[in-house]
Symmetry: C2
Subunit: 206 residues, 2 copies
């Protein structure tokens, strides 16, 4: 059922751990290639060359598999280590650009992000909460002893910037532009970063 090949080439290695890994990777591949809408039991099983029954046995269904997938893809956020130099605004800019660069290269997380917007789901909410916490840790680390100028609502401002970056990266992947601004080449992103730098410099100047 799983593969059209008859002698079961290598899939049936009778190794649960390896099979689980194969399934998770297959799910990531389907997610990145065809989007979250195509993320079905059958599609994943076919991609992994494994029987869908195993997905139920090992992960308890799609939700469990998704959770395992989301846990993996969210790890790198906590490992971001942008340069921590200059004042508060400059450090934040470094964190934001480092995050945006990474996100631009992670198709799976992009689809996950887009899917979260399309409809609420308990499993996705948990994944997102972990990601948000990791991002907070990164920002606290890079912030160091520097503090935002009094009077500025830093959490709100940072949320706005982060929201803009998420949206622009998603638009870049889906349509390649936004609001008349192209978002394809590296130069396009340089422009975004430059505008962001100007904003943060003025908002966070003391």
């Amino acid at each position: 059922m799983a593969k059209p090949k008859k002698p079961a080439p290598e899939a049936s290695s009778r190794d649960r751990e390896a099979t689980e890994k194969r399934i998770i990777e297959a799910a990531a591949r389907v997610m990145a290639r065809d989007g979250a809408a195509a993320l079905g039991i059958n599609a994943i099983a076919a991609e992994a060359g494994a029987d869908k029954k195993l997905i139920y046995r090992y992960f308890g269904g799609l939700d469990g598999l998704l959770e395992a997938l989301g846990a993996e893809t969210g790890v790198w956020i906590g490992e971001l280590s942008p340069a921590a130099k200059g004042n508060y605004g400059q450090r934040m800019l470094a964190a934001f650009t480092a995050y945006a660069d990474k996100l631009r290269g992670d198709a799976v997380l992009q689809k996950l992000l887009a899917w979260e917007l399309a409809g609420p789901s308990p499993a996705l909410a948990r994944i997102e909460a972990a990601r948000s916490k990791a991002m907070f840790g990164v920002m606290m680390k890079v912030r160091g002893e520097e503090t935002p100028p009094p009077g500025a609502d830093a959490p709100a401002i940072n949320a706005i910037v982060l929201a803009a970056l998420n949206y622009l990266v998603l638009r870049s992947a889906s349509m390649g532009n936004f609001s008349g601004m192209p978002l394809k080449t590296e130069a396009d992103w340089k422009r975004v970063t430059a505008a962001l730098e100007g904003i943060l410099a003025k908002v966070y100047e003391k």
Copy 2:
């Protein structure tokens, strides 16, 4: 097939225009209630109390229907008329907040927006292009004779702000928060607006 009722209560009014309208409204209702993923021929036809065959006859399929739907929901953007007072930054802030307020109340456009991020589609791209053009017109109108200060990349800055607003509204509808910031009550949005006001005032001051 369409309705379980036998005498065809009123649906079969033999009025193409009215039927088309009923179908479009049904599509909007399904979209707003169940999201874009549930937007299928069968679901729409059932919701409209019309036969799915008519969707193929009148709209040529799902894509055509979507286009008709998108054209309708994008109209209000062009009709936005925010207060055009003060300098460039203040006028832009008025346009942005007016847009965000409207968007928050339009569940259909929200789902459309989220769907565009999930995967590229020629039909959705055309709808989005029309919307973007309308938004540009609004901004040009409210801008009046005021100009942004030299040195500031106004298109990029405005795109960033618009991107942030889109993302925050979408997050508000799906998860109710972002980056630790709640996005539910009117007070939450007041906070966003206030932060935006601070940003625009400093970025666009001469």
